[in-house]
């Protein structure tokens, strides 16, 4: 079976309806387990004290905020190249989730930064690129709302998504590109030498898995709502004509 078959709204609704309860349940269990493990079951950091517990929210939220935009990029490219409506609606559905994750990242970062850096905010490359990513999320959502014709809205938001991808990538690699600023390097990495200690790493991985499942569940749920909204418009138009 080809992945493109899910570009058919009926097939997508059937498949997503079957998967959604399971992925939602898994998200609830993993997020609750990971956060409870991190909050109640891990020690304080020798330098950062109990503020290290903010790590379990801040890092998974940041990773989802960046990767949500990259998922929107793929979906937007599929729309621009193959004109599959479900992919454009999936990109639209992911934006509020990405925006919320960006806000969580910025808020938890500010709260964490105040006692550790002595400031809520710094125009550091990573923080600044993340703020711009958040503004791109807002602009993307505003553009969808501003244009009545759904295909024109999908076209223009897809182009905006391509442009914003620069900031999604910058917010991930800002530290590598500009080796300056207050923000530390990667805490979760494929390179074991760069990782935090195992006692912090495992609950963070469970929470991250939970956030990934939460993102997938919310995108599926919101895409289903968008497909129904399109169907509703068609039904109303048909009723008016008959």
């Amino acid at each position: 079976m080809s992945l493109w078959e899910y570009a058919n709204p009926r097939r997508f609704m059937a498949a997503s309806g079957a998967v959604l309860p399971w992925i939602s349940g898994l998200a609830a269990v993993l997020v609750a387990l990971g956060l409870a493990w991190g909050f109640f079951g891990t020690p304080d950091d020798y330098r950062q004290g109990s503020t290290v517990k903010i790590f379990y929210l801040h890092v998974p939220a940041a990773m989802i905020a960046i990767n949500a935009w990259l998922m929107m990029l793929v979906a937007s490219l599929i729309w621009l190249i193959r004109r599959h409506h479900v992919s454009a609606l999936a990109a639209k559905a992911a934006a509020p989730v990405g925006l919320t994750m960006t806000v969580v990242t910025l808020v938890t970062g500010a709260i964490w930064g105040q006692p550790m850096w002595g400031t809520w905010w710094e125009w550091d490359p990573r923080l600044t690129s993340f703020l711009i990513l958040g503004l791109f999320y807002l602009g993307y959502l505003a553009l969808w709302e501003a244009i009545d014709d759904p295909d024109a809205a999908a076209d223009l938001t897809s182009v905006l998504c391509l442009v914003g991808s620069v900031f999604a990538i910058l917010s991930r690699y800002a530290l590598v590109f500009w080796n300056q600023g207050l923000h530390q390097g990667a805490s979760l990495s494929l390179d074991k030498e760069q990782n935090v200690a195992d006692v912090f790493w495992w609950p963070a991985m469970v929470t991250l898995a939970g956030f990934v499942c939460l993102f997938v569940a919310l995108v599926l749920l919101r895409t289903r709502t968008e497909i129904r909204a399109r169907r509703l418009k068609a039904v109303v138009a048909r009723a008016r004509m008959s």
Binding site: D44, V104, A239, S242
Partner: protein
């Protein structure tokens, strides 16, 4: 409850704000989804009744 020491306010506010935002997003998505499903079902029902009548 773990001993959070002098950073208790920061840690608790970070968790409180984040969980409120995430719960709000989940609730909004679920409620919007249910409303849309109900509206679509009603519209399809009305369309079917209209076809039967004509």
């Amino acid at each position: 409850m773990p001993e959070l020491g002098k950073y208790a306010a920061e840690v608790l506010s970070a968790y409180g704000i984040s969980l409120t935002l995430l719960s709000g997003l989940v609730l909004w998505s679920v409620i919007a989804g249910r409303r849309m499903r109900a509206r679509l079902a009603k519209a399809e029902d009305e369309l079917a009744k209209g076809r039967e009548a004509s």
